[in-house]
């Protein structure tokens, strides 16, 4: 473990993610289950953050709320300076499309579509012409080393390959923020290292902010900061390295 150094604000620009007293209560029948109980969190632009915690601690809920997929029961969520409360459903969708990429443990690829078609999905919603879509998607697939599998369907790919397709899909829109829910949960350790190397590289070169929910210490150790969530609250924040300590490596 590297020494804990508080992360400095990189610029005057708004933080990538800011949550203020965010709570989330799930109702099952007449019983309330509080998943988040007042989370205050600031994630700067360009930061690579891991969220760890036991199952049911609320870390996935937090990720969904940051990803504008799930509204908080109370509190504010500000993404890149935009208060999500002010956005209607269409604008939330647009925000997800333009600014946020998602990577899931189970890859969540559409089975009937080929790799390149899966990668192009977010671009279709935005109305990008087919030719542009194809070249951008293919470029993204090359970047994750899967150009030669562009026309394969998910069932023809290994778990690691599927996850790389999913990463290509998450990054094809060049989002400012990428959220990963156990992105290495279903792949072997070699692939985990490859994926984390790639994520680190994108983080450094493009300044993309990553928030990864994980159980994997290797993933956590690669990040700038590790946030531990317990019983719907942030229990501990641990800074592992400065962002700028990566540059030049």
């Amino acid at each position: 473990m590297k020494p804990t150094v508080p992360l400095k604000h990189q610029s005057a620009a708004a933080p990538s993610v800011e949550t203020v007293e965010v709570t989330k209560v799930y109702k099952v029948g007449h019983v309330d289950y509080p998943a988040l109980r007042g989370v205050n969190l600031t994630i700067e632009r360009g930061e690579l953050t891991s969220i760890i915690g036991a199952s049911g601690s609320g870390k996935s809920t937090l990720l969904n709320i940051i990803g504008a997929l799930d509204p908080p029961t109370s509190g504010r969520v500000i993404i890149g300076g935009i208060d999500l409360r002010k956005l209607d459903e269409d604008r939330l969708a647009l925000l997800r499309n333009l600014r946020i990429g998602f990577i899931y443990q189970s890859f969540n690829l559409i089975q009937r579509l080929t790799s390149i078609e899966n990668v192009a999905m977010p671009l279709i919603a935005r109305g990008i012409p087919e030719q542009t879509r194809k070249s951008r998607s293919l470029k993204m697939l090359s970047a994750v080393g899967l150009a030669q599998k562009a026309n394969k369907r998910p069932t023809e790919l290994s778990g690691g390959e599927q996850q790389r397709v999913a990463i290509a899909r998450a990054l094809v829109t060049q989002p400012a923020l990428v959220l990963g829910d156990e992105p290495t949960g279903n792949v072997d350790s070699k692939t985990t290292r490859e994926i984390m190397d790639y994520i680190t590289q994108v983080n450094k070169t493009l300044g993309t902010t990553f928030v990864l929910v994980t159980h994997n210490p290797e993933v956590a150790n690669t990040s700038h900061r590790v946030i531990t969530v317990k019983d719907g609250l942030i229990e501990k924040e641990q800074y592992l390295q400065r962002i700028d300590s990566y540059s030049g490596l």
Binding site: N64, G67, L69, D70, E89, D90, A93, L94, L95, R96, N97, L98, I100, F102, Y104, N108, L109, I110, R112, L113, E117, M121, P122, I124, A125, R126, G127, P129, E130, R169, T173
Partner: protein, 423 residues
């Protein structure tokens, strides 16, 4: 920043292709509904048009008078009821607006010559008056039989040139006529003239008819009572008043019909039939619509996770709704086009199965005596108006979209987080 419609349809197509059998069955349902509507409406319009063509061959200034009993009995004399005789011809001739009264005999008959035996009709009439009765009827060869030559006859085109027979009639050839039902009355005639192909008038096929003089028919049929009278009025405008005059004079002992009233009664029957058959098609299309809704619900449920993914990728609710609606619309388009083609073919099959001959007799257009197979029967030609084709193409699409509306809306309203967790 708007999703392209072409992309929406491409995605929808891929989704349909992914579930080929289910999509095909859904489309088949729409196709059948659409085909039934098209085929039934086109056939019944064709029937209506065919009948009207036949009716229109009778002049607008023509009335037919027949004994009322013919409605039940048909055929020549002998049955109970009022019987039309030369006296009636003379009486009606005196009515205001009547220019001529042409009496005729009509009887089903078997006409034979050489190796041919043709089931047709015998009409005994003043042959010089034929052109007044049947507009545009002309001789193909020979001449009209001399009214005072009891052995002279003229025949319709199909009798002289039967389809599927190499044995053809030549002028002045002898033919033999046996009356329907009895072999006792059989006479031979010399064919003096052959008419050009003409078709049916009031369900009586002129091409299958042998015409002889009234006098010969009187002898052959052994009766002085006519099967019916053709009443020619001075102008078409006189038809209504003459009809009323005859009806006032005879009461309900005779049936008087004119071309106009026949057209309107035919129209009312066929339009009711069109509505009835059209609703059968509509019901089947409605069943297909329920099928679409059902298929779509299953599809939305199965693809819950996919919907969650699309939401995460930034698809707006209306884009997701658009995707599912496009799937329904595509099914509707394929079903509509396929159904229209199928219906087109089907209507000709229906048309072929419903030959438009027999059923009605020349005498007053009364149904009753169905003819057996004629030498050449007029087949029903389906009528396809541009409106009908457009309806058959577009209605299934509209129905499919309507049917897909609710499932598509449900898909668009799905909670992204819940959808992503769906197994």
């Amino acid at each position: 920043m708007q999703m392209h419609t072409s992309d929406t349809f491409k995605l929808a197509f891929k989704a349909l292709r992914d579930r080929k059998l289910r999509s095909l069955l859904t489309i088949l349902g729409i196709m059948i509904g659409s085909a039934i509507i098209l085929a039934l409406i086109a056939s019944s319009s064709g029937l209506s048009a065919g009948i009207q063509t036949q009716v229109s061959k009778i002049g607008a200034n023509t009335l037919t008078v027949s004994s009322a009993r013919q409605f039940f009995g048909g055929g020549g004399g002998g049955a109970q009821g009022y019987q039309l005789s030369q006296l009636d011809v003379n009486t009606i001739k005196t009515f205001q607006g009547v220019s001529d009264v042409i009496p005729y005999y009509s009887q089903r008959a078997t006409i034979s010559y050489g190796s041919n035996s043709i089931d047709g009709e015998l009409i005994g009439v003043d042959t010089s008056a034929l052109s007044n009765m049947y507009k545009g009827l002309s001789l193909y060869s020979g001449s009209l039989p001399d009214p005072y030559d009891p052995s002279a006859a003229a025949v319709g085109y199909s009798i002289a040139f039967p389809t599927g027979s190499s044995d053809q009639l030549t002028l002045n050839q002898m033919i033999s006529i046996a009356l329907g039902g009895s072999t006792s009355s059989s006479l031979t005639f010399l064919v003096r003239g052959v008419f050009s192909a003409y078709g049916s008038v009031l369900f009586s096929n002129i091409d299958d008819t042998i015409f002889i003089s009234v006098q010969s028919a009187q002898i052959l049929l052994k009766t002085q009572y006519f099967s019916g009278l053709y009443v020619i009025t001075d102008t078409a405008g006189d038809v209504a008043t003459v009809q009323q005059e005859i009806e006032t004079y005879y009461g309900d002992q005779v049936r008087v019909m004119n071309a106009g009233s026949m057209v309107s009664s035919v129209e009312s029957i066929t339009s009711q039939m069109t509505v009835f058959l059209g609703s059968i098609g509509a019901v089947s299309l409605f069943v297909a619509a329920v099928g679409i809704t059902n298929t779509m619900f299953v599809s939305v449920m199965e693809r819950t996770r996919e919907i969650g993914i699309m939401k995460a990728l930034g698809y707006k609710p209306k884009q997701i709704m658009g995707l599912f609606l496009s799937e329904a619309a595509l099914s509707g388009i394929v079903g509509g086009v396929g159904g229209t083609i199928l219906g087109y073919v089907l209507s000709f099959i229906i048309g072929g199965a419903l030959p438009m001959s027999g059923g009605f007799r020349m005498g007053g257009g009364a149904p009753g005596q169905a003819s057996s197979t004629s030498a050449s029967s007029t087949t029903l030609t389906p009528v396809f108006t541009p409106e009908l084709i457009a309806f058959s193409l577009l209605f299934p699409i509209g129905i499919a979209i309507l049917a897909g509306l609710y499932p598509a809306w449900r898909a668009s309203r799905m909670n992204a987080v819940v959808a992503l967790k769906y197994e």
